[in-house]
């Protein structure tokens, strides 16, 4: 009996104490509790303008997220050394999504409540998709560094993207096929989201242009022997072979095609546009052609190419800072960062809705991925012009236009 009464007393007391705590808290004026102000329009001049970045720093996507973090941190220092934005220091809060959609959702909710003006990233399409709703509902501009076409199609008014899409790269390939008068192609894809997206785009464009796909094969991300698939392809007598994948698979495709004597032009995707491909494929790489961003051939661009300055700046600073050539992924973060900064500057204040409007107004923006022209209907902003046609000659990239 006695112990029951004690328990009831204790329970009542604890509940009261807890309620008291809550009521006490809610009576406090927000200034006492709020550590970082909400998107609040009224901020002291010295308070930093805050941007969030959600990148894949751990997990399978970290090879793309890590250089993105590097470049963002380098650029923040650069901007602050030149006086910041809107006369205030710039701050970027970097969060890791652990290469998972759930991680990205947690990070986005946190960043939004920390009052960020815009969010850069995530690095992958699966992480970006659930953020489409979240950023749209919260009214926070998102500038994605992932290439899935579903990110900007259909358009959500607060969601933008910077990478060149597979759609544009595939169009560039078909341009080449038409110029060469090739009407029968075989294709081979890596079994991952990138290859999958390429497969869909190639199938759609081939149907539209009346080009026949005579064979379709796939390979696993870690496969090292492609002779089985290539033998089938050879039997189908294609006029060209299109391979859609990221290293190391496409290098094996290139080598094995040579070994079995598949003597047709080999087209690769922009997914192999880094030195690793040439290292892996060795001698066989010569003659391979691909659509690629201007980044890998920036030194060969004409001096009056408006792109050359941006690329020189990006490539040389990255090289100095990290001792290696920049990847296209680092370029995405570079573009997203500058688009955010320019939009904030043009909006004139760190207001989410105004920054969104300003991003949509961005025209002729020279980024590493291409020239961005955003509009209400186009939230990717790039055209086929983002790609140049590149051929590998003597183990080096050669601009073919």
């Amino acid at each position: 009996m006695n112990s029951t009464r004690t328990r009831v007393w204790l329970a009542t007391l604890t509940i009261l104490a807890f309620l008291g705590l809550l009521v006490g808290c809610s009576r406090k004026s927000p200034e006492d509790v709020v550590v970082r102000p909400l998107p609040a329009p009224v901020t002291p001049e010295s308070a930093p303008v805050t941007i969030g970045a959600i990148l894949s720093l751990t997990g399978p996507a970290s090879p793309s997220g890590e250089p993105q973090k590097n470049i963002v941190q380098m650029l923040v220092e650069q901007v602050n050394a030149q006086g910041g934005v809107l006369g205030r220091p710039l701050e970027v809060i970097v969060r890791d999504d652990e290469s998972t959609p759930a991680g990205a959702v947690k990070a986005a909710n946190d960043l939004i409540e920390q009052g960020v003006v815009a969010i850069i990233g995530p690095s992958t399409t699966p992480s970006t998709m659930p953020l489409k709703d979240i950023c749209q509902e919260a009214g926070v501009p998102l500038i994605a560094c992932a290439a899935g076409k579903t990110i900007t199609d259909p358009v959500a008014s607060y969601v933008f993207a910077v990478p060149q899409t597979n759609t544009l790269a595939v169009e560039k390939c078909f341009d080449y096929l038409e110029k060469q008068g090739i009407d029968k192609v075989a294709s081979i894809y890596v079994a991952n989201p990138f290859g999958e997206d390429g497969r869909e785009n190639i199938a759609a464009l081939a149907a539209e242009k009346g080009i026949e796909i005579v064979a379709v094969e796939t390979f696993g991300g870690d496969d090292t022997d492609m002779t089985t698939q290539l033998t089938k392809i050879k039997a189908a007598e294609p006029g060209a072979l299109i391979c859609w994948g990221t290293n190391p698979g496409p290098a094996s495709v290139t080598k094995d095609a040579k070994t079995i004597g598949l003597d047709v032009p080999i087209l690769q995707s922009h997914g192999v546009a880094n030195m690793k491909f040439i290292e892996l494929a060795g001698e066989a790489a010569n003659g391979v052609q691909l659509p690629a961003g201007r980044l890998i051939v920036w030194e060969q661009l004409a001096d009056d190419d408006p792109h050359k300055d941006v690329l020189r700046e990006f490539a040389t600073t990255y090289q100095e800072e990290y001792g290696q050539a920049p990847t296209i992924f680092a370029g995405y973060a570079y573009d997203a960062f500058w688009i955010a900064v320019q939009a904030i500057t043009e909006a004139g204040e760190a207001d989410r809705a105004k920054v969104r409007d300003a991003i949509e107004q961005i025209k002729d923006f020279q980024g590493t991925a291409g020239v961005f022209n955003y509009s209400a209907e186009d939230h990717n902003g790039l055209t086929m012009d983002a790609f140049v046609w590149v051929k590998i000659v003597d183990g080096a990239w050669q601009l073919a236009e």
């Binding site: 509940i15 807890f18 550590v35 969060r95 409540e113 699966p126 659930p130």
Partner: protein, 354 residues
Amino acid sequence: MSAARQIADKGGARWSSLLRATAWLLLAAVVATPLLLGEGYRLPGGVGKNYLLTIGIFTGIHAIIAVGLGLLMGYAGQVSLGHAAFYGLGAYSSAILTTKLGLPPLLAMLAGIMLTALIALILGAPTLRLHGHYLAMFTLGLGMIVQIVFNQARGLTGGFGGVRNIPHLGIGSWQFDTKPEFYAVVMLTLGVTLLMAHNLVNSRSGRALRALHESELAAAICGVDVARSKLQVFVISAVLASVAGSLYAHFMRFVSPGPFGFVFSVDLLIMVVVGGAGSIWGPVAGAALFNILSETLGKIGEQVPWVADLDIVLFGVVLVAVVVFLPRGLVTLAARRPGRARGPAIQPEAQAEA
């Protein structure tokens, strides 16, 4: 228990009931905090309501699966390396049936439960008759097959692109489309799960399970249908994973194959082992620790970047420390109080009754 021992235990028992009451209140307070926090509040580090709710939702979803897996591991003595697959089957069932066929969310969830239960039955019936860890191997295989289906059955699953535009969870016109509502739904589901697990463990079949965990032979001699008992728990744990998957799908409103792979199966094992497989609350503690630790490191990482990469190392250290010092999981810390010795160890009565 003899009368003399009862008298001797009386002081300890009163303390333990006080402690238990306080623990319940504390738990209720922790669960209620994100709901009661005002929209404009910021805790230290800029942590706000929606962020806490999101962490709570994922913790709850993980805990639902972990409780089931804890029953399987701690009571039936079987390891599953494929619970992420059951989680995925629930998520994809909800995603596909609601978007492609327009089924109401609850019906789709039910279909997911039936599908998962069926697969668990087919897989478990032959495997659980065998001695040893055959189930681990079979579930490992299942996990890989399911992953391949998610990736390759493009017409159904959308391949790597996943399934988009999944509707909100709702009953009729009542939509759980805000975070507080969804959080409440997840916590309620977790509560029901815990209640069910509690009843199962303290029922005749629960005692039978504990007996067979200690010695299958002894249990069989006492009249326990060993294979049937194990199969029952396996199916229950698979169904719980499926329910959690459906909740995930409706919260994210987007599913892709990535989160349902082998890595997540291992994460679940870590949660269960760290928390303590032989109890009901252990896996919940494990899930909470897993999520809170990873978010805390992420928050510290905002200021000190290298800390964010430490979580894998830290989980390794915690896992080793728990296995070495607290082989029955973190819950043993709570159970060490006088008069609260709990755990899967068979008590004489349990054996006699079973």
